[in-house]
């Protein structure tokens, strides 16, 4: 059903001064009808490229050079584009590719494109919605759904077309733990449905869905091996940059005595969005300089809203925010950037400069800091970005883009760091880099305020603040709050 023989693929060079980037090197494997294979690899190892080649999208739509052979559902995908009814692909950033006004229209769209008779479309839409537990949101707009729901919808839309080969590119990518659990539950039923399944992932839970796993590192692959064996060899997965298990993490303990100076003070802050939706109802927090605070809570609890008050991106409707003891009300976000370094979610939307170097230098120049090149080069080295320095950030992989936003922050050397979900979608190597930097900042006495769904990270904070419905519902040491 799926045969890959000595497959090589290289992307066209991003500019005249660059070499073409080799993404896949001599990949061979085969899958029979109804078989399931996991492809494990770190970010940038060639997982998405493999999916795009097998779906007939690369090099057809991306450019680049391909050699070797690849057949899926009886189609020579290098020669002809396989129909969507034969080979289905779930994209890594599935959410941004939903474009219909309602959930059920989204599922029906592909069936209409296939020319399915109208009376059968209804039946297949119904089955797909039921299978992925989307019946109760069928009339909602896809872009009002949670991350997990969006991913399930994208999956339902592909599955409804009944492809014989289904390619899932990082089905758990970019999701918080709740979204991951939802999608994983949906995926667990797929292997019994008779579809030939290839899924790429760096998460052991997802790989465990497949009896065999192939490990991809820098474009080259191992031969398919029983998944239990692959997962048992933890050291190897760590070495390939896929895993970074918590027992290997740095301690993240403070190495300075706690400081009596105030870091961020929030007094009875209320906030409502312009659509009338109230997000914060009287939040008060006193965060001393040098403390490591994890902010946790369900989606919509107001975590990001609160964090955005710390550097003036949002202003309280009532109440006050003080940064290092000084009222923040009359200071612009650009001015507060001297004290508060801020990391946004979705790094791919934050990058605006022509090169990675310029991206990292932007803040250093805007704040008129000294030693621009020294700061930028140290930050690039810190996040292993030197090879990408002259590349446009927009073409890099998610993990590298995340590293660029972190480097841009590191170059400013601020006494306070406010990070919104820094760990979403990171593979092992990226976790290792993030944690090493956090440990170093912590040792330097920097205040760390991190919004996170990752309880392993929250457990290492000095203090955990739990929000729900715009209110602080728990505030204390990790053992106390996390139970």
């Amino acid at each position: 059903m799926l045969v890959v023989e000595h497959l090589n693929f290289a992307y066209p060079p991003p500019g005249p001064d660059f070499l073409q980037t080799e993404a896949l090197r001599d990949i061979s494997f085969g899958l029979g009808t109804g078989e399931v294979l996991a492809v494990m690899g770190a970010s940038g190892s060639g997982k998405s490229t493999l999916c795009h080649v097998l779906a007939g999208l690369a090099p057809r739509y991306t450019g680049g050079h391909v050699s070797g052979g690849a057949r899926a559902a009886g189609y020579d995908v290098l020669a002809t584009m396989p129909p969507a009814g034969a080979v289905g692909l779930l994209f890594q950033d599935a959410a941004t590719q939903l474009f219909n006004p309602t959930v059920e229209d989204e599922v029906a769209w592909g069936l209409e494109a296939l020319g399915t008779p109208p009376q059968r479309i209804g039946v297949q839409v119904e089955e797909a919605l039921a299978r992925f537990s989307l019946l109760d949101v069928r009339m909602r707009s896809p872009w009002t759904l949670s991350g997990g729901q969006q991913k399930r919808l994208a999956l339902a839309a592909v599955w409804a077309m009944r492809p014989r080969v289904l390619l899932l590119d990082e089905p758990l990518g970019g999701l918080d733990p709740q979204g991951r659990a939802e999608v994983l539950a949906a995926l667990e039923t797929l292997p019994q449905s008779g579809v030939t399944l290839l899924l790429t992932t760096f998460r052991p839970q997802a790989a465990a869905l497949a009896p065999t796993t192939l490990v991809l590192a820098e474009g080259a692959a191992t031969s398919p091996t029983p998944t239990v064996e692959v997962l048992r060899d933890e050291a190897r997965l760590v070495e390939a940059g896929i895993l970074y298990p918590p027992h290997l993490w740095p301690t993240l303990e403070a190495r300075c005595a706690p400081s009596p100076a105030p870091g961020i003070t929030v007094q009875d802050v209320h906030f409502a969005y312009t659509d009338g939706h109230a997000a914060l109802h009287g939040v008060s927090l006193e965060i001393p300089q040098g403390q490591f605070v994890a902010i946790i809570g369900p989606n919509g609890a107001g975590k990001s809203t609160l964090l955005r008050h710390f550097n003036g991106l949002l202003r309280p409707a009532r109440g006050a925010v003080r940064v290092q003891g000084k009222d923040a009300a009359n200071r612009s976000t650009g001015d507060l950037a001297r004290e508060v370094g801020f990391l946004f979610q979705r790094p791919e939307q934050q990058l605006f400069a022509a090169t990675v170097y310029e991206e990292v230098a932007f803040g250093v120049r805007a704040l008129h800091l000294t030693d621009v090149s020294g700061r930028v080069e140290r930050a690039l080295a810190r996040f292993e970005l030197a090879p990408f320095a002259q590349m446009p950030p927009s073409i890099l992989s998610y993990g590298v883009q995340r590293a660029v936003t972190l480097a841009a922050l590191a170059a400013l050397d601020t006494p306070i760091l406010a990070l919104d979900e820094p760990a979403v979608g990171l593979d092992g190597r990226e976790w290792a880099r993030l944690l090493a930097w956090l440990a170093e900042r912590r040792a330097a006495g920097v205040t760390l305020i991190i919004v996170t769904h990752e309880m392993e990270l929250a457990a290492r904070a000095d203090r955990v603040v739990a929000l729900a419905n715009g209110r602080v519902v728990a505030d204390g040491v990790p053992d106390e709050v996390l139970g």
């Binding site: 950033d93 590719q97 399915t116 009002t144 976000t333 932007f362 927009s394």
Partner: protein, 266 residues
């Protein structure tokens, strides 16, 4: 991602079920009538009728109020400027060259009501017709499907592009950017943001091209050929007898009003 431009209010009602082509025709006739009627009382009656129609078809007050609020600034401008620029009849107040006249006031009120009537006719279509049916209506009226798709993609992605702009501005502010200097300098500082937004938009459209191709969108050249099947439509539009009756009713109303205006001069 931000919300899309969508005005549809999902309800079960007679007006919701009406064929979108009939509703579209009704809206066009409504425009013509709004322009033909020169009596303020008739316009107010029409506006009131539209409110009753929408409320009877389970469009909540909040939605109508939002439309009023969106129109408010335009209404104020019309009511303030129209009497001053088009004075007629008895002068009520005169300050320098500005004269406030009775005729001007009535004309302003008429223009304001007419504008509202038009807005509520558009609302009657958009509040009760989902985007899919709207696009389908245009396709059935002869527009190619790709145009319809482009239209709904535009509604979907325009707010996303605007959001991209906000996101980039915020990212820059968070890294120390402060708006300063004269207008020219500020404009120059906005250029990199525009470039970033354009690059972001291009990337968005690249990803969308892949997504459409992966889900069976045939390239225009091969659509309908043996290589790619003809697109089918789930829940296609069908004119029921009620739709035909309403269509005839609207057309008769148009004829009656035109006849009366021609025969009796308004």
């Amino acid at each position: 991602m931000s919300v899309a431009l969508d005005f549809y209010v999902h309800r079960e009602s007679w007006l919701h079920r009406l064929d979108p082509r009939v509703k579209f025709w009704g809206m066009l006739v409504g425009f013509v009538v709004a322009f033909l009627l020169s009596s303020l009382v008739a316009q107010i009656a029409l506006l009131l009728g539209l409110h009753l129609l929408l409320l009877a078809n389970r469009i909540p007050w909040a939605v109508l109020r939002r439309l009023w609020r969106q129109m408010a600034l335009l209404m104020v401008l019309i009511l303030v400027l129209q009497p001053l620029f088009a004075p007629s009849g008895a002068v009520l107040v005169a300050v320098g060259p500005l004269r406030l006249t009775m005729g001007g006031l009535v004309q302003a009120a008429l223009l304001a009501t007419r504008t509202l009537v038009i807005a509520f006719f558009v609302g009657a279509l958009l509040f009760t017709t989902d985007q899919r049916a709207l696009v389908q209506a245009f396709v059935r009226l002869g527009l190619p499907y790709t145009w319809g798709l482009t239209f709904s993609l535009m509604l979907r992605f325009l707010p996303a592009i605007q959001q991209l702009f906000v996101t980039v501005r915020e990212a820059q502010a968070a890294r120390g950017w402060v708006a300063e200097g004269n207008l020219f300098r500020r404009f120059r500082e906005y250029l990199p943001v525009l470039v970033a937004v354009i690059i972001g938009t291009l990337r968005m459209s690249d990803r969308l091209t892949l997504a459409l191709a992966a889900r069976g969108m045939a390239p225009p050249a091969s659509a309908g050929t043996s290589e790619s099947p003809q697109r089918t439509v789930w829940r296609d539009l069908h004119m029921r007898s009620t739709d035909w009756l309403v269509f005839i009713g609207i057309t008769l109303a148009l004829l009656a009003i035109s006849f009366e205006l021609i025969a009796f001069g308004g």
